[in-house]
C-alpha cells in the first residue's frame, strides 16, 4: 500500500505552470501553422502539377506511416548530422507542424472533395478567379464540414507533444517527470499531470468549437 501525498507535487506548481504554458504555446503554434500547411497540401494534392502532387503525396504518406517520436528524433538528433542544428523548442514545433500538416491535409482534402460540383461551376460563371473560387467558395464550407475531425486532430497533436519532453523541451510531461524524479512521488505527479492534460484537452475542444464558426469558416 502506497500512502498518497500530493503536497510535494503541488509545491512544485511553478514548474507545472511553466509546463502548461509551454505545452499551450507549442500547441497554438503547431495548430495554426499545421492547419495552414494542411490546407496548402490539400490544395496541392487536388489541383497541383503532377510533380507537386507526387511530392505532397510522399510527404503525407511518410508522416502518417511513421511514429511521431521517430520524426522528432530525426529532426533533433538526425538533422545535425547534415549540419542543421535546431534548438529543442524549434525541433519540437517543427515536428508538430509537420505531423499535423500531413493529417490535416487528408482531413481537409476530404472536405474539399465533397464540395458539390455545381457550386464551383456557379462561382466560375460569376468570373471568379481560380484562387477566389478556392478561398471563398470551396474552402470555408469544406472546413466547416471537417471541423470536428480537425479539432480532434489538433487535440491529438497537443497530447502528442508530451513526447517532446524526451528531447528536453520543458513542456508539461517533462515537468511531471522532473518533479517525480526529484521527490519520487511518481503516482501523484502523473495523476496531477493526467488531470491537467484532461482539462487542457476539454478546454481546447470547447475553444476551437467556439472559434471555428467565428474566425475560420464563418461569415
Amino acid at each position: 500500500m502506497i500512502a498518497l501525498d500530493f503536497a510535494p507535487v503541488l509545491a512544485e506548481w511553478p514548474l507545472l505552470a511553466k509546463g502548461v504554458a509551454v505545452t499551450l504555446g507549442l500547441t497554438a503554434t503547431a495548430a495554426i501553422a499545421g492547419v495552414a500547411l494542411g490546407v496548402a497540401c490539400a490544395w496541392a494534392r487536388l489541383h497541383g502539377q503532377p510533380w507537386l502532387k507526387a511530392i505532397v503525396g510522399a510527404y503525407v504518406e511518410l508522416i502518417r506511416n511513421t511514429p511521431f517520436i521517430v520524426q522528432l528524433f530525426f529532426i533533433y538528433f538526425g538533422l545535425p548530422g547534415i549540419g542543421v542544428k535546431l534548438s529543442n523548442e524549434t525541433a519540437s514545433v517543427i515536428a508538430m507542424v509537420v505531423n499535423l500538416g500531413a493529417y490535416a491535409a487528408e482531413i481537409v482534402r476530404a472536405g474539399i472533395a465533397t464540395t458539390p460540383k455545381g457550386q464551383i461551376e456557379a462561382a466560375q460563371s460569376l468570373a471568379l478567379s481560380e484562387l477566389q473560387v478556392f478561398t471563398r467558395v470551396v474552402l470555408p464550407p469544406s472546413l466547416q464540414r471537417v471541423w470536428p475531425a480537425l479539432v480532434s486532430q489538433i487535440i491529438i497533436v497537443m497530447l502528442g507533444s508530451a513526447v517532446c519532453g524526451q528531447i528536453s523541451t520543458n513542456e508539461l510531461s517533462y515537468a511531471v517527470n522532473l518533479i517525480h524524479s526529484r521527490n519520487f512521488r511518481a503516482f501523484e505527479a502523473t495523476f496531477v499531470g493526467t488531470g491537467i492534460y484532461l482539462v487542457l484537452a476539454m478546454a481546447l475542444r470547447r475553444l476551437l468549437n467556439w472559434a471555428g464558426p467565428r474566425f475560420v469558416f464563418g461569415r
Partner: protein, 288 residues
C-alpha cells in the same frame, strides 16, 4: 500489502471452480470484497510495510531485479539482444546464492525507484548511488562496485571550475545522480537540458545539441571508445558514488540477506573478478 491482498485468493478459488452459478460468484465476490476491505483497513492502519519480500522470493523461487540497459558496461544490450554487464552478473550472482531464478526488468534512471516503490522489482541493481534524498524513500545495501559521475566535454572548451560552466549548455539524464549533483554546483546561466535516459543524453552530445554532458564515467568511457571522432575529455568530477543495491523501504530481512551475500562475494574476490572483467579495474575500497 501485496501478500495481504493475495492471501484470500487461494481460499476463494475452489468456490469459483464449481460450474460458475451467478449467485455463487456474487457471494464469492462479496466475500473477497469484504476481505479486501478488511485487508485495506489493516494496511492503512499499519504504519510500516510487512517485511516479507524475502519470504515471497524464496516461496516463488523468482527474484525480480531492475537492471539498466543503457549504461555499458554495467548494463547494456549485447549483439544477441540479451542484457549483459556487471549489474546483470551481480543480479545472477545474488540469485544463485539465494537459489532462485532471476527475472531481469530493464529500467531507466528515471523510473528505477518507482519500480521498487510499486514492488515491480524486488531489487534494483542499476548503477544506483546512495544519497540522502533517495534514502528517504528506499533502503540500500552495502556497495558492490565503484562508480563516479563527471562532466565531459570537447577539448576545445575550457572548463576547470564549476563557475566556468556559466553560459554553456549541458545534457544530463533526468533523475540520475548527475542531475542532482550538478544542481548543487551549477552556476546561474548554465543551460541544463534533461533527457529521459543515458542514450538520449549521449545522443544529444554526439549531435552537438549540448556542449557538455554530465554522465557516469562508464558511459563516457564507452562513448569515447566508440566515437573517437567526437572530441571528448574529462572536465569536472561531480561525485564519487559507488553502486549500491536498492531495496524497498523497510524490507530489512531481504536487505540483511543481500548484504551477507555481497560481503561474502567481496571477501571471496568474486565481485573483484566481475569488476576486472567489466570495468577493467579492481573493485578498490568500497564503503560498508
Amino acid at each position: 500489502m501485496r501478500s495481504r491482498t493475495r492471501r484470500p485468493a487461494p481460499r476463494a478459488a475452489p468456490a469459483l471452480n464449481i460450474a460458475f452459478p451467478i449467485d455463487m460468484i456474487a457471494t464469492v465476490l462479496h466475500r473477497s470484497l469484504r476481505r479486501g476491505a478488511a485487508a485495506l483497513c489493516l494496511a492503512l492502519a499499519a504504519p510500516a510495510f510487512a517485511q516479507n519480500a524475502l519470504d515471497d522470493i524464496l516461496a516463488k523461487k523468482v527474484l525480480t531485479v531492475a537492471i539498466p540497459t543503457d549504461s555499458a558496461p554495467y548494463g547494456y544490450v549485447g549483439t544477441d539482444l540479451q542484457p549483459q554487464g556487471l549489474d546483470i552478473d551481480v543480479a545472477n550472482l545474488i540469485g544463485a546464492k539465494l537459489g532462485v531464478k532471476v527475472e531481469l526488468v530493464p529500467v531507466t534512471s528515471a523510473n528505477r525507484i518507482p519500480y521498487l516503490q510499486t514492488k515491480k522489482a524486488d531489487l534494483v541493481i542499476s548503477t544506483l548511488g546512495k544519497n540522502p534524498e533517495r534514502e528517504k524513500v528506499i533502503d540500500f545495501t552495502i556497495a558492490y562496485a565503484p562508480f563516479f559521475q563527471a562532466v565531459f566535454g570537447p577539448k576545445s572548451l575550457s572548463v576547470k571550475t564549476p563557475a566556468d560552466l556559466a553560459g554553456k549548455s549541458i545534457g544530463v539524464t533526468r533523475g540520475a545522480m548527475e542531475d542532482q549533483e550538478l544542481a548543487k554546483i551549477a552556476p546561474a546561466g548554465l543551460d541544463v537540458k534533461r533527457f529521459e535516459d543515458m542514450n538520449g543524453t549521449v545522443s544529444a552530445y554526439a549531435a552537438g545539441q549540448v556542449q557538455l554532458m554530465g554522465v557516469g564515467a562508464s558511459v563516457a568511457g564507452n562513448f569515447m571508445a566508440k566515437n573517437p571522432q567526437v572530441s571528448t575529455e574529462f572536465k569536472l568530477l561531480l561525485k564519487d558514488s559507488p553502486n549500491h543495491i536498492g531495496v524497498a523501504k523497510g524490507e530489512d530481512k531481504l536487505r540483511v540477506k543481500v548484504n551477507e551475500i555481497i560481503a561474502a562475494a567481496r571477501a571471496s574476490g568474486e565481485l573483484n573478478k566481475l569488476c576486472l572483467k567489466w570495468l577493467g579495474r579492481p573493485i578498490g575500497d568500497l564503503p560498508g
